[in-house]
């Protein structure tokens, strides 16, 4: 007998609104329908009503976890459009913050993954060692989140030389703890029993669904914007791309854990080789034209496109978030596994709905609502509620 087990729109598994309709026979998942679009905020439209320099503060609020990735990709896009490059010191600063953000995002996922398999001790311990990183962010940029470090033509804040030892000290701590977590998680037989050979996404499927980031690298598909199309300081430091062939949840966990080590390596080298000099170039105007910016966010490639007509606002700004690509691959990854595994597999792509859902609502391949339609629906509903209460 086929039954529907709903995961979402509100579910303790994932705190953001999403709807996975698991079609199950007994405990086995035979099909999956993905319905997203509960979180429309119209960022691309708002961005066209702001000046070039205001947009980073907006796109940073697309997502609270990767709040460096979106402004990073945006400034790269605008710099591409205006044919400028940031001064070397600014490039290093942006790279450092981008990598520190990757560590905090991967640790967030790792903790949640522990929570999803009912291992709350992992959750609390991992987040305990993520906490000093947020303090570090506050020290450098004044905010635990929403760092506002990216600026067109450079960085908004310098990393002071007296802060280097503090960053180094944290990296030393993290290196030890990351080794501890890697060993603890890979050696635990019960964790392996839950993660190994679960939710396998083959390399062919990974390419067919165009997944990005750790989801792709865990399936043996080597793609990383930092290597494929290096920007800022990424080609000036020595690091490795982490790829595992298995494609199961354990491989994705391994990619993320070992990537943290690589991030530590990158930040250390950046701090060592940090050049002196200005942290921004003066940008007077953005000439007409278009530009793209790609940044390897913790979840995969984040892509920004801007078009300028020479005025002080973008005439078009398009964002493509990695989770938008990754979530769709769940359809193949989850089939044939049990409900218990499904919860894990759905979370293994590290979905981020606030990144993904700024656009239109599609259902079964057809456009259901556009941004304007949703706005109209919302007005209608407000009118209806007003009428009902006689106001």
């Amino acid at each position: 007998m086929r039954r529907i087990v709903p995961i979402g729109p509100y579910h303790p598994l994932q705190e953001e609104p999403e709807f996975f309709k698991l079609i199950v026979e007994g405990e086995k998942v035979v099909d999956l329908e993905i319905n997203i679009g509960y979180n429309h905020r119209g960022h691309e439209f708002i961005s066209q009503t702001l000046t070039w320099d205001q947009v980073p503060f907006l796109v940073e609020r697309i997502c609270g976890i990767c709040s460096d990735s979106h402004p990073y990709a945006y400034v790269l896009a605008v710099e591409d459009c205006a044919h400028i490059t940031a001064p070397p010191r600014a490039q290093y600063i942006r790279t450092i913050i981008g990598e520190l953000e990757r560590i905090h995002s991967h640790y967030l996922w790792l903790g949640l993954a522990g929570h999803f398999i009912g291992y709350n001790t992992v959750w609390m311990w991992v987040w305990r060692y993520r906490e000093p990183l947020l303090d570090l962010f506050e020290l450098i940029m004044g905010n635990r989140n929403h760092y506002a470090i990216n600026k067109i033509g450079g960085a908004r804040r310098d990393i002071l030389p007296e802060d280097y030892p503090k960053i180094e000290k944290y990296l030393d701590l993290l290196e030890k703890k990351n080794a501890m977590f890697t060993n603890a998680i890979l050696d635990d037989p019960v964790i392996r029993a839950r993660l190994e050979n679960v939710g396998i996404l083959s390399k062919q499927d990974a390419i067919a669904y165009a997944v990005t980031g750790p989801t792709a690298r865990g399936s043996g598909y080597a793609c990383d914007v930092r290597k494929d199309d290096p920007y800022d300081a990424y080609d000036k430091v020595d690091w490795n791309m982490i790829v595992f062939e298995e494609g199961d949840v354990l491989a994705k966990a391994k990619v993320r854990l070992i990537e943290c080590d690589e991030s530590i390596k990158i930040v250390r080298q950046c701090l060592k080789n940090m050049p002196d000099g200005p942290i921004e170039t003066r940008v007077d105007e953005i000439p007409p034209g278009e530009g793209i910016g790609r940044h390897e966010a913790p979840r995969g490639e984040v892509f920004h496109y801007v078009r300028s007509d020479g005025s002080n606002m973008p005439v078009r700004h398009k964002v493509r978030a990695p989770s938008f690509m990754n979530v769709a691959s769940n359809v193949v990854a989850v089939k044939g596994y049990s409900i218990a595994d499904a919860a894990l597999v759905l979370a293994a792509v590290d979905p981020c709905y606030c990144c993904t859902e700024r656009t239109f609502v599609y259902e079964n391949g057809k456009k259901k609502y556009s941004g304007q339609d949703l706005l109209k629906l919302s007005w209608e509903k407000t009118e209806k509620i007003k009428r009902r209460y006689g106001k």
């Binding site: 529907i4 405990e27 009912g118 291992y119 001790t121 609390m124």
Partner: protein
């Protein structure tokens, strides 16, 4: 007079109210120790009582279209079972040579009542997640019951073939606790793991996996009914370790028993906090193949008097 005494023993001591109060205190120990393991602070000692009172004051919602009688019977069954179990356990420990008839077989049936209550309640809720949870509870019950029974049989053999609870305790008073032998240790490990599963603690919290099926059978329960479920679980946290002490560790009619109880409870909490949740098929394999084989080895050893 006699009726008053019987009522007193069932409702106040050692029945319902006493076990509930001490059991809720043990859930505080659970929460506090768990919190310390997690580097958190943890709640104050009265938190479980406050939670319980809050639930009593909340509205009880019965889902539309559910079977009302069965929905309300679910929580009650477990509570009744545990109250009777408490009276039998205490009577047998403090008066093992008395005429009170309490044998192991009755206790096995009483211990089956809470899972049956959960299965009935979950199935009556008319919720797909609750019925998935109920079917998981059923599978898990069949998984852990087999090694549990085999371990109890090995204890019966050690007690000289008596199924009377009092005689098991008397035999231990005469020849020392059963735990101090190889087969006793094996039976202890098996019963300990079955207790973990009976309490639905990680790694066997499969029926109510919050991240998968949102508390499963409990999903539609609220207010008083949910409070009763929670309290039954708290009572089990007291009674099941006491049961382990009385069948293997020489009974609890002395002050050392408090330390033994705390030791077992803390062990349960440690196992809970150092393991992820298993899948239901893995739990079934674990109990039937791994723990089942272990319990049979224990049975054979007990037969040869080791």
């Amino acid at each position: 007079m006699n009726i008053v005494r019987i009522l007193f023993s069932y409702v106040i001591f050692p029945g319902f109210i006493f076990t509930a109060v001490v059991g809720l205190f043990l859930t505080w120990i659970d929460r506090k120790v768990t919190a310390r393991i997690h580097w958190r602070v943890g709640p104050p000692w009265f938190q479980p009582y406050a939670d319980f009172l809050k639930l009593l004051l909340k509205e009880t919602i019965i889902p539309e279209g559910s079977s009302k009688t069965l929905f309300l019977l679910g929580p009650l069954l477990g509570l009744i079972g545990m109250s009777i179990f408490a009276v039998m356990l205490f009577n047998m420990n403090f008066n093992p040579s008395g005429s009170f008839v309490g044998d192991l077989i009755v206790i096995i049936y009483l211990l089956a009542l809470p899972p049956i209550g959960i299965i009935i309640g979950g199935s009556a809720s008319k919720n797909p997640l609750a019925s998935v949870g109920a079917s998981r509870e059923m599978t898990q019950y069949f998984a852990y019951e087999l090694p549990f029974l085999i371990a109890l049989v090995s204890i019966i053999i050690k007690a000289g073939g008596s199924v009377k609870f009092g005689e098991i305790i008397l035999a231990q008073q005469a020849q020392g606790p059963f735990l101090y032998s190889i087969s006793g240790v094996i039976a202890g490990v098996v019963i300990f793991l079955c207790i973990q599963a009976k309490l639905s603690f990680v790694p066997f919290d499969i029926p109510e996996a919050e991240q998968e099926i949102m508390a499963g059978p409990y999903i539609e329960y609220s207010g008083v009914t949910l409070a009763i479920y929670k309290m039954t679980r708290a009572m089990m946290l007291l009674l099941l370790p006491l049961f382990l002490i009385s069948v293997l560790w020489g009974g609890f009619a002395n002050w050392w028993a408090i330390l033994k109880l705390l030791l077992i409870v803390v062990l349960i909490i440690l196992v809970k906090n150092t393991n992820p949740r298993l899948r239901i098929d893995q739990a079934l394999k674990f109990f039937w193949i791994g723990i089942g084989a272990l319990s049979i080895i224990g049975l054979v050893l007990a037969f040869y008097g080791l």
